[in-house]
């Protein structure tokens, strides 16, 4: 196995650098940028480093516990970095900087909504998740319920979330890499998919965690550096910055006033619910709670993670405001040099243009490499969560009823990773020209309405039975998907119908109550013997959730 990892690592590295070399220099579509050598060299260093880690990790990935949870031996600080890394995708860096650049206050508001879920996860969930779960969150929902049926449901909705999130990331990755590195779209998608498969297949959670930690460190330091350099143009005075920015921005004095983004209260609350409880239902985030040794470390992880996220969002806010002047007033960054016209490379390039303006090609290269590393790390986390739903939940627990050997289970998870990788590459290429923004919304919507209600009820409500969990889980999943499909972003924008059947853009406010209500009604009306014994089993589960007695412990190496 070791030698194989070596070979794959070397081949992967050389193939990627060779692909980079083969990239067309300047010609090609308008969107494609000149091959960015600083970025490619720095990115190759990152890939070499992460391959080294994967090689090291593969020697410590022997049991299923190693593969899914790094043996439970990650510290709170490390896990906090990794969670922050999982949570801050390239879309966060590029999309939110662009949102602040274009809409000022509305961008900042969006960031608070992304952040506010963390304290709730800490207060309500972190401890119970750690005390009850082992490898996947389905361990918790099926703790006292029917293993086969409830796990199957949890695995299906995990896979739905993972697939939509993965497609959105892949399409974003292809477009971003085309822009930043001057690489061909499909080569970029294949490169990301192959590297992801190598990390996860050979290094499991150990490699995925360390790739995530390094990337989070790079993202935080690169972002901070760009922010400081840009902010120094305004003598670090927020007052001066705002004064100058409002003077030139199209919104004028309205720049720091709430605008149209969340003007409709129903959409605003629905978005808030979706982001808050969607975060609490994302399988790759939930999985991270099982990588630490106990509830103490789980709590610390969330505290560190939310600290990094909050800090970075405020860095992005200042970066976006600085960009209004540094980028928005510089003709070099606009097509045909027309200020206020179309930004070169499109709206998502604001953060990159800012890096170039304040730190030259070197900082631009660094930030581009960080963005690529970010995508790789996030897709790896997703692939691992998807693979564990297939191998641990479906294969080992449902199909083999817990009788599979560890070796067989790991083998299945590796095959699942490769299958997911191939599917992600194919779908990523197929969806190149599609607007995939709705897919992230769909992933959060399904996480909030499909995963979260059953998970929280299974931990807090004694009365939940298998029947209620199944109806609630499937009900939430189906209604979240239906609301998104009938909303404007799919029904009109993708399927080209005239008017949306569902008038709001966010499903959570409507799909979540459906899930809770179905779970309640069908649990309450469940008079079966099994239902009664499931309710009786809550008492022991409750003591374990509260004290951690009997919880899975870290394995020693």
């Amino acid at each position: 196995m070791r030698r194989l990892t070596d070979v794959v690592a070397a081949v992967g590295l050389f193939a990627l650098c060779a692909l980079a070399y083969a990239g067309p220099p300047v010609e090609g579509a308008m969107e494609q940028q000149a091959t960015n050598w600083h970025a490619i060299i720095m990115f190759c260093i990152f890939v070499a480093l992460s391959m080294g880690i994967t090689y090291w990790a593969s020697s410590r990935t022997k049991s299923t516990a190693d593969f899914y949870t790094a043996g439970g031996g990650i510290t709170g600080f490390q896990n906090g970095m990794a969670i922050a890394g999982d949570y801050m995708s390239a879309a966060t860096l590029l999309g939110l900087t662009a949102l602040v650049y274009g809409k000022g206050f509305d961008g900042y508001l969006y960031m608070l909504a992304f952040f506010a879920g963390w304290p709730i996860i800490l207060f309500m969930m972190a401890e119970r998740l750690r005390n009850l779960g082992r490898f996947t969150f389905a361990d918790i929902t099926s703790f006292r319920l029917d293993q086969g049926k409830v796990r199957t449901m949890a695995a299906i909705s995990s896979l739905v979330v993972v697939c939509f999130y993965l497609i959105a990331q892949m399409v974003g990755a292809g477009q971003l890499i085309k822009l930043l590195f001057g690489l061909d779209y499909s080569i970029a998608v294949i490169g990301v998919g192959v590297l992801m498969m190598v990390y996860v297949t050979f290094g499991g959670m150990v490699a995925t965690t360390w790739v995530q930690i390094i990337k989070a460190g790079l993202l935080l330091s690169g972002g901070t550096l760009a922010m400081l350099l840009a902010f120094s143009h305004f003598d670090f005075s927020f007052h001066t910055l705002l004064e100058k920015a409002t003077a030139v921005h199209a919104l004028g004095p309205k720049l720091m006033t709430p605008g149209g983004l969340l003007s409709d209260p129903i959409n605003a609350i629905s978005l808030g619910l979706g982001l808050m409880f969607g975060t609490a239902g994302l399988p790759h985030i939930l999985m991270r709670f099982f990588t630490v040794s106990n509830a103490k470390e789980a709590r610390k992880s969330v505290l560190y993670a939310s600290g990094f996220v909050a800090y970075f969002f405020n860095v992005i806010f200042i970066m976006g405001l600085c960009a209004i002047l540094v980028v928005g007033q510089n003709p070099d960054f606009f097509e045909e040099g027309k200020i206020g016209g179309k930004l070169i490379g499109g709206g998502n390039m604001v953060a990159m243009h800012l890096a170039k303006a304040v730190g030259g090609d070197l900082l631009l290269g660094f930030m581009a490499a960080v963005a690529f590393a970010t995508i790789l790390a996030v897709v790896s986390g997703l692939a691992l969560a998807g693979a564990s739903a297939i191998s641990h939940d479906l294969y080992s627990r449902v199909i083999m009823k817990g009788k599979a050997t560890e070796a067989a289970e790991i083998r299945v998870s590796r095959i699942a990773t490769i299958t997911l990788g191939v599917v992600a590459i194919i779908l990523g290429i197929l969806f190149e020209k599609q607007n995939v923004a709705f897919m992230v919304g769909l992933a959060f919507g399904v996480a909030a309405a499909g995963n979260f209600p059953v998970l929280i009820l299974s931990m807090y409500w004694k009365g939940l039975t298998t029947r209620g969990a199944l109806m609630g889980g499937y009900g939430g999943l189906i209604s979240a998907v239906a609301f998104v499909v009938f909303s404007k972003s799919v029904w009109v924008d993708v399927l080209a119908n005239k008017a949306a059947l569902f008038p709001y853009s966010q499903p959570a406010l409507f799909a979540m109550p459906i899930a809770f209500l179905l779970a309640y009604i069908f649990s309450k009306s469940d008079a079966s013997v099994r239902g009664r014994s499931e309710i009786a089993a809550f008492d022991d589960q409750y003591v374990r959730a509260q004290t951690g007695f009997g919880a899975a412990t870290a394995t020693s190496h």
């Binding site: 952040f115 963390w118 720091m256 709430p258 909050a310």
Partner: protein, 106 residues
């Protein structure tokens, strides 16, 4: 075996105390966060121009930005307060409950 252990822990008054105190603490903090966050979201929807007012005459900083920056800090500080108490006081109590149950087991 473990079911008997769980039974002993459940009947320990200290367990009841742990669950009640920690539960009350966690719910209080959660409600504070939820009320402030959704209150702010509703303020954005219903009173955007108020949030757009400067914090004082001649200031560029608006009330909305100031409140939001404050919420970022407050939510994190509340998290730190919770972790401090849960990892200290509550975990000590938890260990006591487990130890007592193990002692009775012998």
């Amino acid at each position: 075996m473990s079911s008997a252990m769980y039974e002993r822990m459940r009947t320990n008054p200290k367990f009841q105390e742990l669950v009640a105190t920690r539960g009350r603490f966690a719910w209080t903090l959660s409600i504070v966060v939820l009320v402030l966050f959704y209150g702010f979201v509703l303020a954005v929807a219903y009173a955007p121009s108020t949030l757009g007012q400067p914090v004082s005459d001649g200031a560029m900083l608006t009330i909305g930005v100031a409140v939001e920056a404050f919420l970022f800090i407050l939510f994190w500080v509340l998290s730190a307060v919770y972790v401090r108490r849960a990892n200290g006081e509550f975990d000590a109590l938890t260990q006591e409950v487990i130890k007592q149950a193990q002692k009775e087991n012998k």
